[in-house]
Subunit: 322 residues, 2 copies
């Protein structure tokens, strides 16, 4: 006989490796109770992943769990916040204990790396596998890095490399065009993205604005520009297009995936010139690639200075997950 | 052309009537930022409603929105907490602006009554309409009323009347058996439950344990007994079976719906004898019906003293929403 909701919760959701001292009451009452440290703001983010929309139903439970937590962690990283507590709603088409066990293992594994404790949620039956995760963290009062603080003259930086996640999705949709080796070289960026929490944290008090790249660099930098009421110019040859794209795709394809696809979960931030050296040193210490791709200017809109010295307008369009 | 996620958020989710001063950053950044008052714990609850499982897809958007918020408010009521901020994930099979507008209107209407502000969330496309809501509130440190505090000798109380929600669902499933008039007399309890927040709040420092009745009185009182390591005896003739059930159903049917169905969102709590008079006076002032249905005892399990003076064991079973 299938286990009831309560039995499943007892078996898989009561016991975790993370036990935070600020959790007063975790899974198992009407609500969870936690303590936010003094002089800190609470930071909240929620994302849903739906089978067939955000992932293929052939993905293993482990990848789905990792991604659900990682994309929410990335939102906290983009504020410079410290993650702490998660709540999880699972809508399951059937009770497959192997699936739930795999999901929990991968979830707890990533959660432990960032000291996140699962403190509550909901299990429901439903025709479509849907995972909704809310992640709660905190940050010293007034230190959150929002999208709206970019200033004219700020330098624009991007971490890591762009486009691999989009390339992996492209291969999943057109499987025969690329070898398994190529797919495996980029699939982890689509299925197991690693959120940039340490990078976000060191930028407190330094970056004027920040966002994580979920919709694509053009769209996400566009959000910063819109919220900050400024414009920007980026330099074509500084955009960090990931190597596998350069190797296996035409330049146009690679460019499009790097700028307009998203799901890279890298950070894009703007920085006053005076902090350039300090931040570049901090990122060297973190061993995280950092790319200065342009600057904020007063002319509205997003422009790209191309290799041929022409300036092209970039549409702030992105991948429509919706 | 259908609106994009961003356009929908701009149109329906940025503007609300509730504007709390403790919201530093609401909808529209990577994450929301709020301030929990000093010397308070943060209280969190999350529930999902799935079309075809928790509501019929023929329900109007207004009922779905009300219910999604009400069931979460009820969880905070059961802790004695003060609601504050909501995050909402909507998975929509198609973009129907009328539907979204109706949903938002009813959501904001109920939210305003309890001073709740929507501060973030997620819009996704997906084959099954799914609403996941997280509600955040707070309570002075150490004053939350949990399921685990019941003491031997405590009186057991239930607010309001039981079974109407179950009766309404029963009619929805077997429509021809009852007239529209009968259905309308109970449907609001299924579709538009009113959470008992004021009642929960006045019990701070008085009730030893509390739960809201979502799975059925027997199951939910069972949760208190299990978490508190005690037993209980209730009195058959004190169980507040709602009048429409007595009027239109056999005694056995009415009894079963009142005890084992749930979704009534009444409160069940246990109280030291010394607070009996004080609490009964408080509830008279609130004009909320209150029923003393039994007491906590040392013998494990849940018993019912029947009209014929026999004592019957009650299974702590409830409605399986899962």
């Amino acid at each position: 006989m299938a286990l009831s909701e309560f039995e499943l919760i007892d078996r898989y959701f009561l016991h975790q490796e993370t036990n935070r001292s600020d959790v007063v009451l975790g899974v198992g009452d009407d609500a969870a109770l936690v303590r936010v440290p003094m002089d800190h703001d609470l930071v909240l983010t929620m994302d849903s992943l739906v089978a067939g929309i955000h992932f293929l139903s052939t993905w293993p439970a482990e990848d789905i769990a990792h991604k659900a937590l990682a994309v929410n962690l990335s939102d906290l990283a983009a504020m410079g916040a410290e993650p702490a507590w998660a709540t999880l709603s699972l809508v399951l088409p059937q009770i497959d204990e192997n699936w739930i066990e795999g999901f929990c293992q991968a979830f707890y594994h990533l959660a432990k790396q960032f000291n996140v404790q699962l403190i509550g949620g909901d299990l429901s039956r439903g025709p479509t596998l849907t995972i909704t995760l809310e992640l709660h963290g905190f940050i010293p009062t007034g230190q959150a890095i929002t999208r709206s603080g970019a200033q004219i003259g700020d330098l624009i930086y991007v971490t890591g490399a762009l486009g691999e996640s989009g390339f992996a999705l492209h291969i999943e949709k057109h499987l025969s065009l690329f070898s398994d080796t190529v797919y495996r070289s980029v699939a982890h960026r689509l299925r197991r993205p690693m959120p940039r929490l340490a990078e976000g944290r060191v930028l407190r008090g330094l970056a004027n604005s920040m966002i994580d790249i979920s919709d694509g660099l053009a769209a996400d930098l566009g959000h910063i520009l819109e919220k900050s009421g400024v414009g920007a110019t980026v330099i074509e040859e500084k955009i960090p297009i990931a190597s596998p794209l350069k190797q296996h795709l035409s330049y146009d394809q690679a460019w499009n995936l790097a700028l307009f696809h998203g799901e890279d979960y890298e950070l894009c931030f703007t920085l006053p010139l005076k902090y350039q050296e300090r931040v570049e040193t901090l990122f060297t210490e973190l061993q995280t690639d950092l790319h200065l791709i342009g600057h904020i200017d007063s002319q509205q809109g997003l422009r790209c200075q191309m290799r041929n010295q022409q300036v092209m307008n970039l549409e702030p369009k992105g991948y429509q997950h919706f």
